[in-house]
Assembly symmetry: C3
Homo-oligomer: 325 residues x 3
């Protein structure tokens, strides 16, 4: 009996560590401590969201164990971060308010579906030594929102709004608010729009790698700049939604998949600009059918950067050796 | 003279067998007898549709012969089923009524185009040992409907309607009608909405493989359940349109590409659910531009299932050995 | 000093030759002289457009040099033609009028982005020995138009109109105008809608290869025929917009990637028809969100043709040996 009890306890502990690793994976880190800090930040911002996120990461990690996925991948948290994002975004887009318990049902199913997509996309992308990244999250959340639609009787959600220039009698832009949007852009990677928790999340990244944190802020600033140049809605700038794709694109190139030097640094800035502009374009496109652009732009631009031939490719770290520290 | 006559006769006979094999391929079977039964069922439901289907399967098989496609593929009926579906669906969506003879022109051209797409997609998908399946049909029918548009003077068609919850003063759901929709879901694979022919089609599958027939019914039931959970229009449930993607997804995993055991059975049910939900999502998306979702959902989910790593992949039957019985 | 001066001069000269090669690459030729003729034709049609095109081809070629792309590709003009098209099309869709100098900024950035996409797509498509073709141009121009949107305060543009049958009180079709649209279809590959320059462009192709020029005219005629059969707007027929995808599809198969004989000639005609119909379908689809179909159709159909197995594949020229003369 004791043995069985110990085994269960050990498995529970392991699952928690895998889950925390998964939480930190969302922001391209890989460290249970960073994961715990991020979870604390999310709990501070909204306990309901933190609950959904925890549920998502545990469900998808468990689903991966049951489906017999590769052990190293599971223990590295690779099967957790997509499920977490799906679960949290379902909460963000839901118009039924917090603590709407029925939402746990699609959250669990959606998180488990991520494992199917992760496992199915891996052999496709592996041919070019590409990571699956957050493609499963982006696919599942778009399908979920399409499936339910804004007027669903069980799971209603807010339609996404365009990022494009729609205001006619816009007020003047407030510089302080725009600057505030830069750290918020880092928090928006976890769909978190409050300043305190965003800074805590940034701190969690700093704990893992100062280089990554610097590129996160830089990318968010670049994204905000791109948003300004295209005259997007002021709310996008203030809330950090303009910045988070830039931040992800910048981090992936500048702090994760390539060895750092001034050349990759320039490529990281280019990647941030491309991600930000592509995000504006995609949110204008998907906004016509009421869908959000999520992190499609950053995911695709980072994938493109990994495929580049020429001078950038010489600094590329092979996938097997990335994410180790 | 006699020799030439005999040769022609033999070729005609062979073409008929290949065509009948192609007809049965639509529902994942591979048996001329099942094909003949299905053709009889279609003739019973609508002679015009059966004519279009026969024309489609013959045209695309002939086109494959002329284009010098692989002989084993042609004689296995692999170049027939996409053409048949394109041709029949053109008839279903046409708003010019039955026996509109001009429709034979796009039906022939569309069926022949399927051979181009089949032959072009095969090398792409072959890298991962994936079948081309009904991708050509889905692409060609969507392009045809986009090309003509609802108000085309020569080939008008009905715009597709959303599956989403659109009714406000909806009547109560009738349980009997919903149950009736389950066998209809099997018939809808051939765009056939009558009960008798649907049962005959189910019988044709039963003749080929009882396992496949059981999974067809199971998948259709799962699809109907998914439709109920998302509160789709009642007509979708009654007509079996909610069920047919689930049926295809369930059959592909449970009865065709994997050896049968209780694990693959569970995966088959998961595949049916994923196909059904993805179908609702896609029909909501494509419905905004007046397009039907066809069998995109089932085709993509089945492809995903074939790509899965982990416990499912150990039961996978290599493509070369599938479809033999 | 003299040495340095000479080197600069030599580099400038080389860049000019690479650029002219890039200009001719747009229409599948590969000859600096043809490039110069085409540039003269564009200058005749609109000096502003010619300036944008020159800027685009130089920017993207320079960006490729800076990014350390393969030298043989750069000197072959492979990194120029996408940038040229992006830059010119930005000018065509801009509603701010000619000589709007701010447009040079997105033109330069968009052209440089093409190098990223070219370099990133190359390893993907290389697996099947496929060319990158004008995929980067099509992606970048669509993203640019989505990003700015019709009401952008800095870079406004005309929304694209449907090709579909929208007119109710249409006037009678004028045969002379339709025939005039056939050579215009060749000019529309460079977004040029005047007869004189179009004929000069055709002359430039004739200079490179009479076979290619014949297929360009044939393809444009086929595209016009396809447009007539689908009752598209009369303006599309008159302006040559119906024909240019057909021309590109026909040229790629009939004069470039396959050795010429009567079989590949028939395939070239089929390719022209498929390109033209796919273009009508895509422009109807993309027109619903105000986007043009560009040359997506021809690019995809040509890629499909290169993938075909069967009798066509035996005449295929390996990618390394194409484009040499």
């Amino acid at each position: 009996h004791l043995n069985k009890y110990m085994q269960d306890k050990v498995f529970g502990l392991l699952l928690a560590v895998w889950g925390l690793r998964g939480v930190s994976r969302v922001i391209l880190a890989n460290n249970p401590l960073s994961g715990a800090l991020i979870l604390a930040a999310l709990c501070w911002a909204s306990p309901w969201q933190a609950l959904l996120g925890t549920l998502g990461v545990l469900t998808s990690t468990l689903a991966a164990v049951i489906m017999g996925q590769d052990g190293a991948e599971v223990s590295g948290g690779l099967h957790g971060f997509n499920g977490m994002l799906v679960s949290m975004l379902m909460g963000v887009f839901s118009s039924a308010g917090d603590w709407y318990w029925w939402l746990l049902l699609p959250a669990c199913l959606g998180s488990a579906t991520c494992v199917f997509l992760f496992s199915g996309l891996a052999p496709l992308l592996d041919r070019w030594d590409l990571p699956v990244a957050v493609f499963p999250f982006n696919i599942v959340i778009v399908l979920y929102l399409l499936c339910t639609g804004p007027y669903n009787p069980y799971f209603p959600h807010h339609p996404a709004t365009h990022a494009g220039p729609m205001e006619i009698n816009a007020t003047e832009l407030m510089a302080v608010e725009v600057l505030r949007g830069i750290p918020l852009g880092v928090g928006q990677i976890f769909a978190c729009g409050a300043l305190g928790p965003s800074l805590l999340i940034l701190g969690a990244v700093l704990l893992y790698s100062p280089l990554l944190a610097a590129h996160a802020l830089l990318g968010s600033a670049v994204g905000t700049l791109a948003g300004l140049s295209m005259a997007v809605r002021h709310e996008s700038l203030y809330s950090g939604l303009s910045g988070f794709n830039g931040a992800l694109g910048c981090m992936a190139v500048g702090g994760l998949f390539f060895t750092f030097n001034w050349r990759t640094h320039l490529y990281a800035i280019a990647s941030a600009f491309l991600s930000a502009y592509a995000d504006i374009a995609l949110s204008n496109l998907l906004g016509t059918v009421g869908l959000p652009a999520c992190s499609w732009a950053a995911t695709m631009i980072a994938t493109l950067m990994l495929l580049l031939t020429g001078s950038l490719s010489t600094y590329r770290i092979p996938m097997g050796q990335v994410m180790s520290p």
